[in-house]
């Protein structure tokens, strides 16, 4: 009797002790990541895995300030063309190799020179590196580049073990070796990615899990169902329309952060013959379309007010937002007047949209609103792959597309609005805007940059090659046993300080 009671009690005690720290954290992702190689990968969701797998040179705070991570301090030379970084001396990669300046040099070299590297355009301004000593490195630029620190806070700054990259080359992604809080254990495509706690992590005391399992669950309803059933501890990208019901559920928590990106309508102004429409040729018609849209109502109807209406590439909460160009209220009369001025009353335009139901709803709302101003919208749904191709090739009039956003404002605007921009599918080209945007990216002074962006905004509000509609809000739903989670506007899940019972 005695012994059994004691053993039962002990067992209960042990069980409860193990409940204080969940050994394995299970996270539901909205998609399956692609290749797990920071230099080759292209998906947003892959970055969520990297947040636990690969540490970067610098990190961001929720307020988007750049703070030290693998680099402890950095300094710009007077001419802004040399960046000197001091590195941590207590970091090892998952394979035991030491992290030092040579490793940083090797990483930057790979990002720049690996033929398959997707990071090339992000580190384009780097001409070379110079290892000063074991934990100091100089990075030389071809021209002053204000965006480099923000790039180092993302995939371009993720440090991979040089030994592993050399051994595995392009197949690094099958068994990545980095320096983050967790190391790679296994991956079954479309099923799970399992990472295990790295004992020698330099901030190991902030990590409260023995392992993290990422489970890609594409269907939103099923992802939430998994959370409710207790099969995962947290999920990302909860649909806006599920927020109310999750808030009403006592066993679940919600965390939100307005994203860095935007969703809008990209208009073909100069990309092939399809641009020869009243909309493509006359900025007044574009302004009219923008005025016909009630962005707040759109946010309300499709997203229950959870997202944020927008009219610029940065959300109104961003420090880069130009307050002198606020979100216009809907004005059908003014829209009709503009159309009359342009001689384009009762026009028909074709809007292409992906087959995603939410995107479809957004365009249907715009369609209904624009109809009242005399603009008839024909919706053409295309599979995403086809949509991108036709957008690139200019085979569209208006395309509903967005951008997930970058920490540095340049990342949200330069490649879309400059004449030679890499993703400028509207082929908008205005040398004045080019000058302002180039000026903004080379100065490290925030005031100067903001002034340049504001001046550019004044021109772009007139020309309007992109009609911005809204900014997505990243929404996470968590089991109420999870604590310590901080929402970041870049949508990443950082597990430092997070624990679950």
């Amino acid at each position: 009797m005695h012994i059994t009671k004691l053993s039962v009690f002990t067992a209960a005690l042990m069980l409860s002790a193990s409940w204080v720290h969940a050994a394995d954290l299970r996270i539901g992702l909205a998609e399956d990541p692609d290749i797990l190689d920071p230099d080759q990968s292209r998906t947003f969701v892959g970055r969520i895995v990297y947040a636990s797998l690969c540490d970067k040179l610098v990190e961001i705070t929720p307020e988007l300030e750049i703070i030290p991570a693998l680099a402890t301090a950095w300094e710009w030379s007077a001419d802004g063309m040399t960046l000197t970084m001091n590195l941590r001396d207590d970091v090892t990669f998952h394979d035991g190799e030491p992290f030092n300046a040579q490793a940083v040099a090797a990483n930057i070299d790979r990002s720049k020179n690996l033929p398959e590297s997707r990071r090339k355009s992000q580190v384009k301004s780097i001409t070379g590196t110079n290892v000063v000593d074991e934990y100091t490195i100089e990075i030389m630029l071809a021209n002053p580049d204000a965006t480099i620190m923000a790039q180092f806070a993302d995939r371009a700054g993720m440090m991979l073990s040089p030994k592993a990259t050399e051994e595995m080359g392009l197949d690094f992604g099958s068994a990545p070796v980095c320096a983050g809080p967790f190391s790679f254990t296994e991956r079954v495509q479309q099923d799970r990615i399992v990472l295990s706690k790295f004992a020698d992590y330099y901030r190991a005391d902030e990590i409260n899990f023995d392992s993290v399992t990422f489970l890609p669950i594409a269907d939103d309803a099923v992802r939430l169902a998994n959370l409710r059933a207790g099969d995962v501890h947290m999920i990302e990208r909860l649909p806006a329309t599920s927020v109310a019901s999750v808030k009403a559920d006592d066993s679940l928590l919600i965390e939100q952060a307005v994203s860095l990106g935007y969703q809008g309508l990209t208009i073909n102004v100069n990309n092939s013959d399809r641009a020869k429409t009243p909309l493509g040729m006359d900025s007044k018609v574009r302004q009219a379309l923008s005025l016909a849209i009630d962005r707040e109502a759109l946010n309300q109807v499709v997203f229950e007010g959870v997202f944020a209406a927008g009219n610029q590439p940065f959300p109104p909460t961003s420090p880069w937002y130009d307050a002198s160009n606020p979100i216009p209220a809907r004005d059908v009369a003014a829209a009709k007047a503009l159309l009359a001025e342009a001689g384009a009353e009762n026009i028909e335009i074709e809007v292409q949209v992906s087959t995603n139901p939410v995107a479809g709803q957004v365009v249907q709302v715009v369609q209904a609103m624009a109809a009242e101003a005399g603009i008839k919208i024909n919706i053409v749904a295309k599979e995403f792959a086809t949509l991108l191709k036709e957008q690139s090739a200019g085979a569209y009039e208006v395309s509903q597309i967005g951008w997930s956003g970058r920490v540095d404002p340049d990342g949200n605007i330069h490649q879309f609005m400059t004449c030679e921009g890499g993703i400028n599918d509207s082929k908008y080209c205005n040398p004045a805007v080019d000058d302002l945007l180039n000026k903004a990216r080379t100065s490290t002074d925030i005031a100067t940059r903001k002034a340049s962006y504001d001046s550019a905004r004044t021109i772009l509000v007139e020309d309007m090659p992109i009609i911005y509609l809204y900014h997505q809000t990243w929404i996470w739903a968590l089991d109420d046993g999870v604590s310590g989670f901080t929402p970041y506007p870049d949508g990443m899940i950082r597990l430092h300080g997070v624990s679950a019972e």
């Binding site: 109310a244 249907q364 919706i379």
Partner: protein, 290 residues
């Protein structure tokens, strides 16, 4: 009329009437026919019924539960569900019937050709049919729909083309069976042309099993359209079809379960109806029971 004919006429009613009588006695088949007729009627009558337009949005009435104003509730953009369900019946039924019509119009000629000509024609057609049958039906439909672009029309073409091999195989098998009959051999013997033999003997005799298969394939096609729409490849907004309504509804299963209920129930009944009808036809036309 000879004496024998007179006696036969008294004892056995004509074949067509016997089939009709069997069908009438089969309650399940009648039930199925009723269901199908109901949906066809409302689909055809959609434009003249006193319902609001299926694309009329109303920001103030988003996702409202069924009420006196909206008998089936409203959808995610405030549109009346009853109206969308009725118009959606058009799309879904069309998807079923047109797909099968496409499959029949390509499948029967090829199947009969293969069964009649044998030799190399048969070999080639059979190999191609086997190749198409080996690829999974839905994958084929998805790939074709992706190729053609997401729309109801393309979904119908995709499903129709994917169903062609089924009818080729059936038509071929039935043709070969008919050709072994004595009366066909006699027809050959008296010198009837190929066209006459096919027209007079083959086609009328292969119609029954093909009709059964067609009815059953309509059921499969309606589900296939729903599946394609579920993947975003079928009817595109704002035009309704039950499948695409289900696709948007799955995001609101908790907040507005009626959005998923109605299309799901409708698809279930229509498909059940066609299946019952097809089964009834099969039983009625079964030569063993005549």
């Amino acid at each position: 009329m000879s004496v024998i004919d007179e006696i036969q006429a008294d004892v056995l009613p004509p074949r067509r009437n016997r089939i009709w009588a069997k069908l009438r006695n089969n309650t399940a088949a009648l039930f199925g026919a009723l269901i199908v007729a109901f949906f066809v009627i409302i689909a055809v009558a959609a434009p003249i019924l006193p319902i609001p337009g299926p694309a009329e949005t109303d920001w103030g009435a988003v996702r409202k539960a069924p009420s006196t104003a909206h008998w089936m509730g409203t959808d995610e953009l405030g549109r009346d569900l009853l109206s969308r369900m009725i118009w959606g019946a058009q799309a879904s039924l069309l998807a079923g019937v047109v797909s099968v019509a496409i499959a029949l119009s390509i499948g029967i000629p090829l199947g009969v050709l293969a069964g009649y000509c044998r030799g190399w024609t048969d070999a080639v057609i059979s190999r191609v049919t086997e190749a198409l049958l080996a690829a999974p039906f839905l994958i084929l439909a998805i790939a074709l729909a992706a190729f053609l672009g997401p729309s109801l029309r393309n979904a119908m073409i995709a499903i129709g083309l994917s169903a062609v091999p089924i009818f080729i195989r059936l038509a071929r098998g039935q043709t070969m069976q008919v050709l072994t009959e004595d009366y066909v051999e006699s027809a050959h013997a008296i010198g009837l042309s190929h066209r006459a033999i096919i027209g007079r003997y083959v086609l009328p005799n292969i119609v029954p099993p093909l009709l059964v298969q067609a009815t059953l394939t309509i059921a499969t096609a309606i589900i296939a359209e729903a599946s394609l729409s579920f993947l975003g490849l079928g009817q595109q907004p704002p035009s309704p079809s039950w499948g695409s309504m289900l696709n948007t509804a799955k995001a609101f299963l908790e907040q507005a379960p009626w959005l998923a209920m109605w299309p799901g129930i409708a698809i279930f009944f229509v498909v059940l109806g066609f299946n019952l009808l097809g089964d009834g036809l099969r039983d009625a036309l079964d030569p063993r029971n005549i």
